[in-house]
Amino acid sequence: MIEPSYPHRMAAHCESGTLTGLFNHAGLAISEPMLFGIAGGIFFGYLRPRGLPFPTFVVRSRPGSLRKHAVARLGLRCETRTFRREDDGMRALDRLLDRGVPVGAQVDFFHMEYLPEYERVHFNAHFVTLVGRSNGHYLVSDVYHPRIARLPFESLRRARFAKGEFAARGRLFRPLAVPPTVPWESAIRAGIRSAAFAMTRLPFPFLGVRGIRLFARKVQEWPRLARDEDHLSHEVMSIHVILEDRGTGGAGFRFMYASFLQEASRVLSDPDLAEAARGMMENGDRWREISLFVARIGQRRDLGPARLRELGDMILERADDEERLFGRLLRKFPRQGIFSRFGVRL
């Protein structure tokens, strides 16, 4: 097959960027921030997963959830398949590519050999679009790479069927049809509502705004968990990596969410959302200051109790601001659950 005509574009984040490219190709004009916002992608969770020696945090919803929510809220028809047998999964992919159909795939980031080796880590929830195959290679549109890349057959097979956390089981997805009338307004409202609810109302101490507060407290206890100063410095600097380096659209997705709110204010002709966008942008600026702060103190090994308290206070301020911002959004677009039907506000 010759070089395909798929319009490859770089993007801020792999899942939202891949979906945006596929949806655009299917005829739906949508931006990456709009997709991210409609899918309710923004989040916070402070986690200590089993099997990991050190706590970590997430700044977005679970991998794969953007597709599920965006498809449902935009009224798209989409096909998603996983496979028990690798051969079946590879044959299904080849059949689609030979028909000239671009397909989204979930893969282990480590096997994306066209990216620099120092960037590649084992992470089973990377997303790419496969756009063709030729001479023993697949043609890959990866939003983190400037052009369509070539990946050997065997590498893609390993990437699609890698085992472990978030194992993809060969997952493929593709949009089948875009509705004649896209329900933009209801999709935007549902996206804001779900994100604001997840950030302010989930009854778990480690999720949403409560999770940010827990993070602010726990980060001051990190010296007790670290093996030595080098380890502590590495973990503190990983805050910077999670916020800025892992395709977050900047400041832990807060900038991308601000762009979404700005766009949403135009679609809904709602100046309150433009105001919320400005607030989210400032919130992003403050998260970025945290990012810079941890990079500096980590680099200088300036990790005494006073510095970590200072860091904790900065994080606590983010919790206060995000509680205000998302609280306001939830009051504007309240959930229509069983309780609200009886006049009870959650």
Binding site: E244, D245, G247, G249, M256, S259, G284, S291, L292
Partner: protein, 94 residues
């Protein structure tokens, strides 16, 4: 990036970069406009320095560089930074 950057803006950016990275013993004139900042030994830029410059540009000129892909494209040389700032300023004044 389309708006043209003036020599004054480029000079300003050179000073801002030196000030932000706390580089002493190097004058702004010694920084080449078009040479990659990563390849200028006097600066020795790393990814944290890039973020420092991103924040400094935002404070000085009010321009946002949201994500790392964009940061890698913009924070390449004095010329690319100046063009980005000039374009963003032109957008806001339009």
């Amino acid at each position: 990036m389309s708006a043209s950057a003036t020599p004054e803006l480029k000079a300003e950016i050179k000073s801002l970069v030196l000030e932000t990275l706390n580089v002493t013993g190097v004058s702004p004139e010694e920084i080449d406009d078009s040479v990659s900042l990563f390849e200028q030994p006097a600066l020795g830029l790393d990814s944290i320095d890039v973020l420092e410059i991103v924040v400094a540009l935002q404070k000085r000129y009010g321009v946002h560089i949201d994500d790392q892909n964009l940061a890698r494209t913009v924070i390449r040389s004095v010329e690319t930074i100046a063009e980005f700032v000039a374009t963003e300023r032109a957008k806001t004044s339009a």
